[in-house]
């Protein structure tokens, strides 16, 4: 079902865990559907210097969490917001159609964490 790239990413996922003093946090998904992600980012000079993710979810959710966070690390906020689910899926050698919603989830998590960061920044 899954490509080798997905399986390799899944087997050794990167950026798993949480950041204690995150600048932004994004929670997406719903345990009813079997997927829930929490993305933590550290931002410095408009750049994502660190990103971590906690994932409750399937192979696909874990693999895309890992890959998507890898892809935004070091990027500017604007660049990170431009990352699309297709890009992530492509990097992973494709995802089964039924699992496409998982790659949306990772992207959504990152966006939400950026939103959260922006909101917090405005307040200050």
């Amino acid at each position: 079902m899954y490509s080798d790239k997905v399986m390799n990413e899944f087997k050794k996922p990167k950026n798993m865990g949480k950041i204690e003093n995150a600048d932004g946090i994004g929670t997406v998904g719903n345990p009813v559907c079997g997927d829930m992600l929490k993305v933590y980012i550290k931002v410095k000079d408009n750049k994502i210097t660190d990103v971590k993710v906690e994932t409750f979810g399937c192979v696909s959710a874990i693999a895309t969490s890992s890959k998507a966070t890898e892809m935004v690390k070091g990027k500017t906020i604007e660049e990170a917001l431009e990352l699309s689910k297709d890009e992530v899926a492509k990097e992973l050698g494709g995802l089964p159609p039924i699992k496409m919603h998982c790659s949306v989830l990772a992207i959504d998590g990152i966006r939400k964490s950026i939103e959260d960061y922006k909101k917090k920044n405005k307040k200050q």
Binding site: M7, F10, K11, P13, M16, G17, T27, P31, V32, C33, G34, D35, M36, L37, K38, E54, T55, F56, G57, C58, V59, S60, A61, I62, I98
Partner: protein
Amino acid sequence: MEVYLDNAATTPMRKEVFEEMEKYFFQDYGNASSLHLFGQKAFEEKENAREKIAKLLGVKSKEIYFTSGGTESDNLALKGIIQKSNKKKVIVSAIEHPAVLRTAEFLAKQGKKLSVIPVNSEGIIDLNKLKKEIDSDTALVSVMHANNEIGVIQPVKEIAELCMEKNVLFHSDTVQTIGKIKINLKETGIDLASISAHKFNGPKGIGAIYIKEGTPIEPLIHGGGQENKLRSGTENIPGIIGLSKALELSLKNIEEEQKRQEELRNELIKFVLEIPKTRINGTYEKGKRLSNNVNASFYGIEGEALIAFLNEEGVFASTGSACSSKSLKASHVLLALGLSHIWAHGSLRLTFGRQTTKKEINYVKEKLPGIVEKLRKMSSIK
């Protein structure tokens, strides 16, 4: 190490079964409807197989009909009975296999009435509710013997009595029990029972249905009139031979084998429960669960990821998690037990077979906790 613990899904075929089937592919390949020697041989072997199966299940030869598998048998039972009945209602349990549930839903869509009976947190059907639901418009009750996900065994004898009292037919999906438990179908009082060979080390693509003599039923598959006009199509003789041989072998030392598996099961259940935030789904009270089934949930873990890591270690298991299926809905069985979605998504099913060894179970015990820990560490649900 490769450890296959998905025997509720399907089993490897036994060598002895294969050897028995082999000659029917090339040598005695006749069509059982043909009048010549080749056909007559096929016909006789088929009838011998039917007789053997009937004897093993305590019923008459003519009460056994061959089908292509458990799903077809379930469809035939529900559709065939309702078709011939002037009553409109079908009652099923909430934890039936999709072969029964989807069929019942189809009938409901066709204008029949459907009633779904809940189970308690242990996975046992609510007999009072069932009793109340049986009315004068009820044609059929269908309650499975043992559940495929959690292995919980339903009180079929009591259900049969209830149905007899109320003059309603009783179908039981016995796909997970026939070949695993000694059953005398006549004594249980079931009117129709589904059988699938690949669940007890027989071939895929062959099954059977027991239908009590005199039960009015319409065929699901019409045509040449084989199987006493109930199931048309050229008979799958190698499959039929394989089914009967597999059943014979399975029942040979069944009590011993059951006991052996039960010990492995109890040991594994005990081990799993020592992992924190873990539960066993469905009762494991003695006699109320298949001896080959362990179904556990690990809080905060998604089942597909769990079995994927187990797969990496050579352990082949299954999950009721939605993410493992194409439906994206969590296991209806686990939800029916009252599990929350988080618990339901975190289920792991390990089902043993004759080939399962203590060494294999020890291997699972070695690998499982580490994987659970790893996934929990990653998880957003603590």
